[in-house]
Symmetry: C2
């Protein structure tokens, strides 16, 4: 999961660890706490060893903005490699049970603008399936096994059930949107201006922003 997230973020811009973690938190804050440094740094090392990412020279490029303040230090800036982009494309396209869990789904969803529509649909439907099953489990519990549970546990289940129902509705909307061509609002091109050799096919219905 972390591997996928790092590769995805570095595709938008080169960054050092600290920055990466902040972006991670910003992008995934809704779905999971954040990855800790205890997994981030080892993973960076692993990705570098595998050749998916590489260390970059400090502050040479993208001049003008923020001249050279705090120039080089211990900071290690990572850049994704061509192999890394391939790896990302492969990871983002393959789906499985772990794609539908809370954490996995969140990460995949956060990179939907780099995912082709067929895969998006597959993921949304898989997630819906997963949540529907969780929902049914809770319904059964609140029906049949209710008298075995104390009031607090029951209340927890009730609240969980409501959350499930709500998420299923949300997913339904997203799926309908996806099928009708247009994205929830609009996928937009990442920071990286150039480079169009990445596979992700431009989504069909590129339309307007939300905020009316």
């Amino acid at each position: 999961m972390l591997e996928l997230a790092i590769l995805g973020l570095l595709q938008e811009a080169s960054m050092h660890g600290y920055e990466l973690r902040k972006e991670l938190t910003a992008k995934l804050g809704a779905i999971r706490a954040a990855f800790s440094y205890g997994s981030l740094y080892p993973t960076l090392r692993r990705l570098q060893a595998a050749g998916w990412i590489a260390e970059a020279a400090e502050t040479p490029a993208t001049a003008e903005e923020v001249p050279a303040l705090t120039s080089r230090r211990g900071r290690v800036v990572y850049t994704i490699t061509a192999e890394g982009k391939e790896r990302f494309a492969q990871l983002i396209a393959q789906t499985g049970p772990e794609t539908y869990g809370d954490s996995g789904f969140g990460v995949h969803f956060a990179f939907f603008s780099r995912t082709d529509q067929a895969t998006r649909l597959r993921i949304l439907e898989g997630r819906r399936r997963t949540i529907e099953e969780r929902r049914e489990g809770l319904r059964d519990m609140l029906g049949r096994a209710a008298e075995r549970l104390d009031a607090y546990t029951l209340e927890l289940q009730r609240h969980g059930l409501e959350a499930c129902e709500r998420e299923v509705r949300w997913l339904e909307e997203l799926i309908a949107n996806e099928r009708s061509g247009r994205a929830p609002t609009v996928p937009q091109e990442g920071t990286a201006g150039g480079r169009r050799e990445d596979n992700s096919p431009p989504p069909p219905g590129e339309s307007r922003k939300e905020r009316p």
Copy 2:
């Protein structure tokens, strides 16, 4: 977390691993997937080594119901010890940051009927605080940093924000209920009949056994 959950469940009834996991799933299904055997069995061993739980002889007690079918096998039934009960009381009463995370809160909440009111209140308020902070983070993101994020990520944040708002409202209700004396419905005494030497002060609204 798992330690607390096991101790709590064994206080209601002696069980073997498989059964324990099913109960765990039933009780915590709303908040987290389930603990896997890969953590369950090692933890059982650890608890046994610490003297909090002990192996019990198979099917000797609680006769009548289900005579002796499938009598003894490889099944290992665990029973909580007096020290284990003390340990549970200590764990359930102490609060901290980890108590307010998704998983920690869920487990603590699931055993609220064995928690004194002051602690319940402390946990609910801590949890509320935590979610409120998460909520503020998401609000900031959707306000200031919105243009940096793509439409899908934005939609994820929006959905997360709504979930936070909903949970805060839920917590408010629980807190109000808690303050006004009555629990969501009513905490009930566990299976364990004897032993009143454990510290947990009898909650105010102590009523009768489960099965009415």
